[in-house]
C-alpha cells in the first residue's frame, strides 16, 4: 500500500488532479459552462416563442390615411386587418399586426413609415427585417436574400398580403410538430457539446499545461530526476480523461433531467467511442505541444486546430449546410468523426459493431500523434 502511494505515477496523477480541482475557473469552464450552454441553446431552440419582425414602409404615409391621400394597398391591408395603431415616445406612428399560430409560433409585424436613408441605417444596425415600398399599387420588397431571417419575413408577409384569410385561419396545411426524443435540436446539440468538451479539454488541459510547465522550466527540473518520462504524460492524460468523463456525465445527467435526453443506442459502444475520442484528442494535444515553450505560440496552435473543427464539424448546426465539395474533408476531422459517432449512438440507436471501425480509426489517430509527439518532445 505504502509502496503504491509512493509510486511516481500515483503522485503525478495526484499532483495533476489537485492542480486541476483547485482551479475554480477550470471547474466553471469544464462543467458549469457546457451545462449553461446546453440550457440556453436547448431552451432557445426547443420552445418556439412568438417572434416580432420590423418592416419599414418607404415613401408617403401608408399607415394612416390623411385628407387628400390617394389609395394605398399597404394601408388598405393594414386597415382591413385592424392592425393596431401605436404612438411612439417621439410621436412617431406605427402599426402592429399580430398573426397567431399555435404550431409554428405567432408573428407580430411592426410597420414604420420612414424615408429610404433612415431605413438603410436601421437595416445596417439590424433593427429592420424588411423594407417595403409601393408604386402605383405595386409592392416591392427590399432585403438581403442571403439573410435567412429577412427571407423568412418576406415569404411569410408576402403570402399574408396575397392571402389575408390566413389571419383568421392560420396554418391551414396539416403541420404535425415532431417532439419525440431524438428529433429535437437539443438531441442534436448535447452529443456535439460532449465531443466539443473533450476536444477543448484535451487541447487546453494537455497541450497548454505541457507548454506552460515547459516555459516554467518545470519539465526540465523533473527530467533531472529519475522520473520516467512516459509517467508524466500518462498521468496528465489520465487525469484529463477522468475529468472529461465527469464533465460528460454531468452534462448528460442534466440533459436527461431537463430535456429528457436518453441514449438510444449501445452504452458500451458509447463508452468505447468516448474513450477512443479522448485518446485521439490527447494524442493530438501531445503532438501540438511537443516542441514549443512559448504560451503565446501554444495559444495560436490550439486555436488553429480547435477553431476550424468547432465551426465546421457540426457541433451546433449540421455540417451538411457547407458546400458539397468540402464535406469529404469535414468528415475526416477527428471532431466530426467523434460527433457523428456519439450522435449516432444517442439518437440513431447505433450498435457496438457499427462503431468499431470509427473507434479504431480514432484510436489510431491518437496513437500516431502521441508517438510522433513523444519522438519530437522537447523536455527543456
Amino acid at each position: 500500500m505504502v509502496k503504491w502511494l509512493n509510486s511516481q505515477l500515483w503522485q503525478l496523477i495526484l499532483a495533476n488532479a489537485r492542480e486541476l480541482l483547485r482551479e475554480p475557473a477550470v471547474l466553471f469552464w469544464g462543467i458549469v459552462f457546457p451545462i449553461l450552454m446546453s440550457l440556453g441553446l436547448g431552451v432557445a431552440f426547443t420552445k418556439k416563442k412568438d417572434v416580432t419582425v420590423n418592416i419599414a414602409v418607404i415613401g408617403r404615409n401608408h399607415l394612416v390615411q390623411a385628407p387628400g391621400d390617394s389609395a394605398s394597398v399597404i394601408r388598405n391591408f393594414l386597415q382591413d386587418n385592424r392592425a393596431a395603431l401605436r404612438v411612439g415616445k417621439d410621436g412617431a406612428l406605427s402599426r402592429e399586426l399580430r398573426v397567431p399560430d399555435d404550431k409554428l409560433g405567432g408573428t407580430t409585424y411592426i410597420f414604420e413609415n420612414m424615408d429610404w436613408n433612415t431605413a438603410m441605417v436601421s437595416l445596417k444596425r439590424g433593427n429592420l427585417n424588411l423594407v417595403m415600398d409601393e408604386d402605383n399599387g405595386q409592392i416591392s420588397y427590399h432585403f438581403d436574400p442571403m439573410n435567412p431571417d429577412a427571407q423568412l419575413t418576406y415569404l411569410k408577409f408576402s403570402k399574408l398580403m396575397k392571402e389575408p384569410g390566413m389571419l383568421i385561419k392560420p396554418s391551414e396545411t396539416e403541420i404535425r410538430p415532431l417532439t419525440v426524443n431524438g428529433t429535437r435540436y437539443i438531441d442534436f446539440l448535447v452529443p456535439g457539446l460532449i465531443c466539443m468538451g473533450v476536444m477543448m479539454s484535451c487541447m487546453w488541459g494537455v497541450s497548454y499545461d505541457i507548454i506552460e510547465k515547459r516555459s516554467k522550466k518545470l519539465l526540465r527540473r523533473m527530467i533531472a530526476t529519475p522520473m520516467k518520462r512516459s509517467n508524466f504524460l500518462v498521468a496528465l492524460i489520465t487525469v484529463r480523461i477522468t475529468m472529461n468523463f465527469m464533465e460528460a456525465g454531468l452534462l448528460l445527467f442534466f440533459s436527461w433531467l431537463v430535456f429528457d435526453i436518453t441514449i438510444q443506442g449501445s452504452v458500451p459502444a458509447l463508452l468505447l467511442f468516448f474513450i477512443s475520442g479522448n485518446i485521439a484528442f490527447a494524442g493530438i494535444a501531445v503532438f501540438l505541444s511537443c516542441n514549443t515553450s512559448k504560451t503565446e505560440i501554444g495559444n495560436g496552435l490550439i486555436n488553429l486546430i480547435s477553431m476550424p473543427m468547432m465551426v465546421l464539424s457540426g457541433i451546433f448546426f449540421s455540417y451538411h449546410n457547407f458546400p458539397a465539395w468540402s464535406l469529404p474533408v469535414i468528415r475526416k476531422f477527428p471532431l466530426t468523426m467523434m460527433a457523428d459517432g456519439v450522435r449516432g449512438i444517442f439518437i440513431e440507436s447505433t450498435g457496438f459493431s457499427q462503431v468499431l471501425l470509427p473507434a479504431a480509426i480514432m484510436l489510431a489517430i491518437g496513437v500516431v500523434f502521441f508517438t510522433a509527439g513523444l519522438k519530437l518532445f522537447k523536455w527543456h
Partner: protein, 255 residues
Amino acid sequence: MNSEAVIRVKNVHKSFKTVHAVRGIDLDIHPGQFVALLGPNGAGKTTLVEMIEGIQKPDRGEILITGKPWRGNEKELRKIIGLSLQETRFIDKLRLFETLRLFASFFGLGKERCEEVMNLVGLEEKRQAYVVNLSGGQRQRLALGVALLNKPKILLLDEPTTGLDPQARREVWMILKKLKDASSTSLILTTHYMEEAEQLCDYIVIIDHGTILKEGTLPDLLGTSSAVTKKEEYHGPPRNLDELFIELTGRHLNE
C-alpha cells in the same frame, strides 16, 4: 585532494550556432568539495553545469560522473544528483509538502524524507501553504529542499540566490553551510555574487568567454595574482575577488 574526482570535466567544448559557449574546460571536483563557478552573464557557467547535469552533450571532450559517462548510465546518475535551477516555478496550486512528496516519489522516497527535508530548509510552518503563496526566498529554499531530497552525492545549484534579498540569501547560505558540515556532498554553485563564493566555497573557478581564467582556493587566488601585470605591481595584489575579476577581465562581475 587525493580522493578520486566525483566530477571530471576533460577538455570540454560546446557551441550554439555561432556562439562558442565553452572552450576547452578541464575541471576535477572531489567528494565534499564546494566549488563556485564565478563569472558574468554569458560566461558559459550555465552551459558547463548543464553538461555536467547531462542535459547538454559536449561537442568535444568528456564528462565523467563518479567515473561514468552519461551515455548508458543516465538512470543511475540521475539518482545521485540534486539540482536547483536559477528560476524553476513549481506547480502553483500544490502545497509545499505535496511538492516535496511529488519529487520524493521520483526517487522512490516517502513521507519521512520529506519531513526531514522540510525541517532542514526551515519551512515546517509553510507545510500547508500553496507554492504560489510562498515568498521568493521560501520558494528558493523549497527548490533547495527538492534538490536535497535524494541526499545527493553531487549538488548543482545554478545561481540559487539571484534576485533574493540579503536576508533570504543568508538563509540559503546557512542551509548550505549545514550541509557542508554534515555530509560529503560535492557542490557546484554558479554565481555572480563574490560574497557567496567567498562564504560558501573552498574552491573558486573564474570563467569568462567559455574558458577558465583562474582557479584555486580563495587565499591562492588572492595571493598569487600579484606578479602578473605592471598594474598589479603598482597597486599591489587584489584584496578581494571583485578586484581580482576586474584585473583578469577589465570588467565588473555584474556587467
